[in-house]
Amino acid sequence: MSARPDSLVLVALLAPAAVFVLLAVVAPLRRSGRLAALISIAGALTALGAAILAWRNLGEDIDVFRHVWAWLPQHEGVLATVGVLADTYSVKMLVLVSLVATLVQVYSLGYLSDEPPAALGRYYMYQSLFAFSMMGLVLAPNFLQLFICWELVGLCSYLLIGFWYRKASAARAAVKAFWTTKAGDVGLLIGIVLLWRMTGTFDFAELEVWAGSQQAGIAGISLIAFCLYLGAAGKSAQFPLHIWLPDAMEGPTPVSALIHAATMVTAGVYLLTRTAFLFELAPDVMTLVAWVGAGTALMAAILACAQDDIKRVLAYSTVSQLGYMMAAIGAGFANAGFLHLLTHGVFKALLFLGAGAVIHAVHTNDITRMGRLAKSMPQTAVVFIIGTLSLAGVPLFAGFLSKEEILGAVLAGGLTVPFVMLAVAAFLTAFYMFRVVFLTFFGTADAGPKGPAYEEPVHARGHHPHDAPAVMTIPLWILALLSMAIGILFMFHHEEPQFESPVWLTPAAVGVGLAGIGLAWLTFQRRSIDGDRLASAMGPLRTAAHAGFWIDDAFLFVYRSVLLVFSRTIGWIDRYVVDGIVNVMSAWTVMGGGRLRRMQTGRVQDYVFGVAVGVVALLIWLGGVK
């Protein structure tokens, strides 16, 4: 059977959409909980199957299958279309999205087993909506559909971060995520409209043809590219709009794995990959993308070292890895960034789900309260270490090649300083991830100042931490095996990158990773280096990292000192100037009316007299005219 890829991806897109509509409309089904979950998983599985088939049937890399319908008609022709675009990028991304979505939905059955049925049904309804919107975004053949789905995934992110909406911090985090990404989305919308004014089309294929006929640096393209980048920076948590992602960890862990690690946050990277032809016209914006990406990668890596919450470490790690991808795109090699997007999606989902299994077992996020969990949760420990090795860029694991390719791309792009920043970030990545591993799964009984969590009274009900049920471990194993399979596959078969890397790059990339692992081992396992002294040696950097580099405070300061002052000024002008003018006008009207009313005596004879005088005057006037 060889169905056309465009029909297959359409099936993949519509399966979760149908599930969402079903769960949204049929309330008893939604409230049934488990049944709703199974239906949703069936939808995701259908999507996964269709996506894999589409990938197999796609053929050569240059093949593009489109299926579009007219949506908004205009005077001559069509203003906007909806449909699907199946090419090598979108189909690979589709496979990633549907794979992680399916595994996360299966995993959630175990993770959220304590939820009431109605909440579980609501969760799966949102999950299906997310799967549909994310696939719609990936498959969008034009900017308009992309933007709509872009907002829909933002909505799903908001709904799922705030899934436990009775918790004040979760509700606040949801709002913060929504507003911060919205700040970028305004830029994206402006960029799309400006681009449409310039070219008269939203369609990616037409835009690519248009871009091919233009010189780099034509007037106005820099602004457009910057606006598009703003949207991508908000979604993909680039400095300084990254502040929402660590807080987004308030949501359930499977949601963090799916939305805030593997798929939605990579939408910005995907957008830039998809529209790389536009960014090539704006080299200045490309440089900005690379520098901000590298800066974000380094900054987030430093911040991740200072976190004690396992999910926040992973969140900052995600921000850092997104910075890597952006840096590669900024260097002009979108392929390298996209490759890292795919591998990162797999192993970061694995890490989050592994962290979820740990949290599920010990009921805390604090790594200083965990320790020696490798004994009680051997399976989780193994898969988590596989994910960590992938992220650290150790050979034979998924992250190794894609990360090295990014380093090579940035170097080949002539960006030496960002390259150094990324190399330092790679060292820190290995360090902070193995810090988590050693503190969580190994270490000693006096693992931290507060001791292991399972000695806390909460778990004294004869309830020792143990591996999660099969419904949670099987997705973990699938992702772990995939991480390794991808890594090993790359050893044998990998298409040559479009650039030359120096021979010392591979040893250097592996070296910094191993150095980071070594330092973490010495500090947190052997304890031959005192962690506290290491931290205090960092001096002000430590203080800054614990405060998140004061970026949240900077936003607050801007809000209070600029925005509030500005709006108070506007408010004063409105109250006293605009309202003043209006009040004076109305006072004059009232006064004039008060004077004019005295003409009305109310006596009939006065009116009759008026009429008579009027008639006489008319007669005289008519006589005069004649």
């Binding site: 009313r597 005596t601 109310g602 006596r603 009939v604 004879q605 009759v608």
Partner: protein
């Protein structure tokens, strides 16, 4: 006598009626003034009808007289109602429309 004499008479009667409407303090007096003005119009109609040899004016006059009767009945009823509610028939004191 020519047409002009009749028209002159009608004008005089109309003016007297108008003067009465404007100057009379009693509402019944005002109604009488209105009657005079209507009759001035009737004189006009009859005079034109007679001198132009058309009967339409006569018929219209008959209608006008009939309607005037109804109007007087209605007007007097209003005056009586006014008197009952306001205890007065003096036009100056009836100024509900005063602004």
């Amino acid at each position: 006598m020519g047409l002009h004499a009749y028209l002159f008479l009608a004008a005089v009667v109309f003016s007297i009626g108008l003067f009465g409407v404007i100057t009379r303090r009693n509402t019944i007096g005002i109604l009488l003034g209105v009657e005079l003005m209507l009759n001035a119009v009737n004189i006009n109609l009859v005079a034109f009808s007679r001198f132009h040899g058309q009967t339409a004016g006569m018929i219209l006059t008959v209608f006008a007289i009939a309607i005037t009767v109804a109007e007087v009945a209605l007007g007097l009823a209003l005056v009586i109602l006014l008197f009952r509610t306001r205890r007065t028939a003096i036009a100056d004191q009836i100024d509900w429309l005063k602004g």
